[in-house]
């Protein structure tokens, strides 16, 4: 044998063993390793400023990479001595698939929170809210609210393995608070800022107050129900919640944030705006409408779509004139759920209804359902539409779309999917009472059309432009107060988040499946 043969053989054997060891080591480290990364964040991430006794709201969000869907979150949140939290202040977000009963263990100023899910993967989310925390501000001061990364653990659905479910918590984002108010001692309410009252703390039984009278301080006035007749429109009663009912909710600078509801009240005759017009709706059954006419118009002219029209239920406003057919309908706006749709306000989500029969078509804009049912899994909306100017009563097809929705065709009662024939099979009468109520809720009005191709207006299709637009707002969790409106908030939850993106994806899948 050559001199080099033996060293070569040894080298080969060593390499072989080395390779085998490396293979084994690789397998060992893979077992139990996390299959994705996530970040836990406290929202808002800016300083939360509140006064003593007010609620300090904080939400815990997860942002998971690689499309991994989260089915369990355990975390520890800690806060300063100026705040308190009890178990009732922890609410888990069931819309993201978590069970409604979290495990909450509070020790001193830290809480261990656990949320789990038994839902299938398609009900889970990659990004979203897991906990909503409501701290109470106890005393003046400031400090951080933090997530302990080392005590946090996230699990998720791993399609590659039923065992390796851990998602690594690679980052946490904390927030801060600033509580003011307790040091502002006062004698009377006049010493306190607007919206606050001078409060005398009372020593609770068992509390060691040493017979010392605690100083009075300013605390927020609990809001109350306010109501009065409108000063603009006759027969209109306005209602709102405020700490001070003497302040006009409409003329104040913060009116945009105050939700004002309106009802018909024949006793209200204080409205004195010379341009005011009001009457029963010509299109929506049991609805009274108010608007301010333009200077060159009369109240006989219908308001144009761009004008603000106020609406209220009025039983006496019946469409049963007997002259035109009436469409009694029941629809479902896709994905709008009863518990998470504080921003589904029918007047902000008006329908455009087109009817077709025998070559005749007519379109009605600004159609607002008058009855909302929140008792089922999804919100349903009902209404009656007078088809003024449309004299057909048989073989009718109805096309409906909302402000961020695709146009859906309805041609039969209880339609459960796409109607693939021309025309329709609906039959109407000219009276609300006798015209059939057509139930289209099994085929919801699909949402997701928020922008067009290089345009800010919907274009009748759901595509990549809509996805990118909704994602832009979901990235920053764009949020409005209850009753508000965001175009990209597809489920009316008052926030643009991963639920809206999921919803848009489902719409795209369904519609593309129908078209192609």
């Amino acid at each position: 044998m050559k001199k080099t043969t033996i060293p070569l053989l040894i080298l080969l054997i060593v390499t072989l063993f080395g390779g085998l060891m490396l293979v084994k080591q690789n397998q060992d480290t893979r077992k139990g390793a996390s299959f994705a990364n996530t970040a836990l964040k406290l929202i808002p991430n800016t300083t939360i400023e509140r006064r003593v006794d007010e609620i300090v709201p904080v939400k815990v969000y997860y942002y998971t990479e690689s499309g991994a869907k989260v089915d369990g979150v355990q975390t520890e949140v800690c806060w300063g001595s100026h705040l308190s939290l009890d178990e009732s202040g922890v609410v888990v977000n069931t819309a993201n698939g978590f069970n409604s009963s979290p495990i909450v263990v509070i020790n001193d100023n830290c809480a261990t929170l656990v949320a789990t899910s038994q839902q299938a993967a398609d009900k889970l989310k990659t990004t979203g809210e897991v906990f909503a925390l409501k701290f109470r501000a106890l005393s003046e001061g400031q400090g951080p609210i933090t997530i302990k990364k080392e005590s946090s653990m996230v699990t998720g659905d791993n399609s590659a393995s039923a065992i390796d479910k851990e998602i690594a918590v690679t980052a946490v984002e904390n927030t801060t608070y600033k509580i003011t108010g307790s040091s502002e001692t006062c004698e009377t309410d006049a010493d306190c800022p607007s919206g606050y009252e001078c409060y005398q703390p009372i020593c609770s039984p068992g509390e060691n107050c040493l017979d010392v009278i605690l100083p009075k301080y300013c605390r927020p006035i609990v809001s109350q129900n306010c109501t009065r007749c409108s000063t603009v429109f006759k027969y209109m009663r306005v209602s709102w919640n405020a700490t001070d009912c003497s302040k006009d909710p409409i003329s104040t600078s913060s009116s945009a944030e105050i939700e004002v509801s309106r009802t018909y009240d024949a006793g209200c005759i204080t409205g004195n705006d010379p341009l005011q017009c009001s009457r029963c709706s010509k299109t929506n059954d049991n609805q009274y409408v108010w608007w301010l006419r333009e200077a060159n118009k009369t109240c006989d002219d219908d308001p144009v779509a761009s004008q603000t029209i106020y609406r209220a239920f009025r039983d006496e406003c019946s469409l049963s004139t007997g002259e035109w057919p009436v469409l009694n309908y029941k629809v479902q706006y896709a994905f709008v759920k009863p518990d998470y749709s504080k921003c589904f306000v029918p007047s902000d989500w008006p329908l455009q209804v087109t009817v077709l029969s025998g070559g005749m078509t007519k379109t009605y804009k600004d159609v607002v359902p008058t009855k909302i049912n929140r008792s089922g899994d999804f919100v349903t909306a009902e209404g009656s539409l007078l088809l003024e100017g449309f004299d057909k009563t048989t073989n009718i097809a109805v096309f409906m779309k909302g402000p961020k929705h695709l146009q859906m065709k309805y041609a039969v009662n209880k339609q459960g999917g796409r109607y693939n024939k021309a025309g329709g099979e609906l039959t109407l009468t000219k009276f609300v009472e006798t015209s059939p109520v057509y139930d289209f809720t099994a085929y919801p009005i699909l949402s997701g059309d928020v922008v067009g191709k290089n345009s800010n207006n919907p274009d009748g299709v759901v595509d990549g432009y809509d996805w990118t637009e909704v994602k832009k707002w979901a990235k920053v969790l764009e949020t409005v107060e209850d009753g508000g409106y965001i175009k990209s908030d597809l489920d009316g939850s008052c926030q643009v988040n991963s639920n809206d993106l999921y919803q848009l994806r489902k719409t795209l899948e369904e519609k593309q499946g129908e078209l192609y």
Partner: protein
Amino acid sequence: MKKINNMINKNLLPIIFLSFVVIVVSLFSMTSLKNKTPMLENLTEIKDDQKGEIITFSWENIEKPVLVITASEEVSIGAIDLYIGYKNVEITGVTNLGELPEPAFSKVSQDNSLVVLNYLISEDDGFKILPGQSVRVVELDISSQVDQGYELFIDQETNVVDNETVKGLTYKSENLIINSILE
């Protein structure tokens, strides 16, 4: 023993060389067999050769047609609605090559002669393509029952959406035209 060693040294090298030649020839033969229908003529043409397009759709056609995206500048894509039209051929399957995420919707629509793929990019920052970088998107399975030439092209319904501006990124595309088939 020395004799044996000399014999091994004398014979081993030619045997190794011969084995190597046999393996290379076998591999080459197998590849040729797989390409039983190689393209006699493989022509591409620029459909839209206007200046200034940021995205280019082009084709690689080794065994199967593969659609490739390149960019002339750094882009961040929020979504792609991809519509691939075809003529004189049956598309039997479409395979996402994994460089882009799985499409939200993927279908070969025989009725419309279109391959439809909707890519919705979940990442906040979109899908980045650097200048000169090639992204292999999909591979198409073509029916073996192709008698005449066929054509693949990017349908004008296709959108490439910029992640930041939510506007369409301009694109140009090459058509893949196969004139005839080698039997």
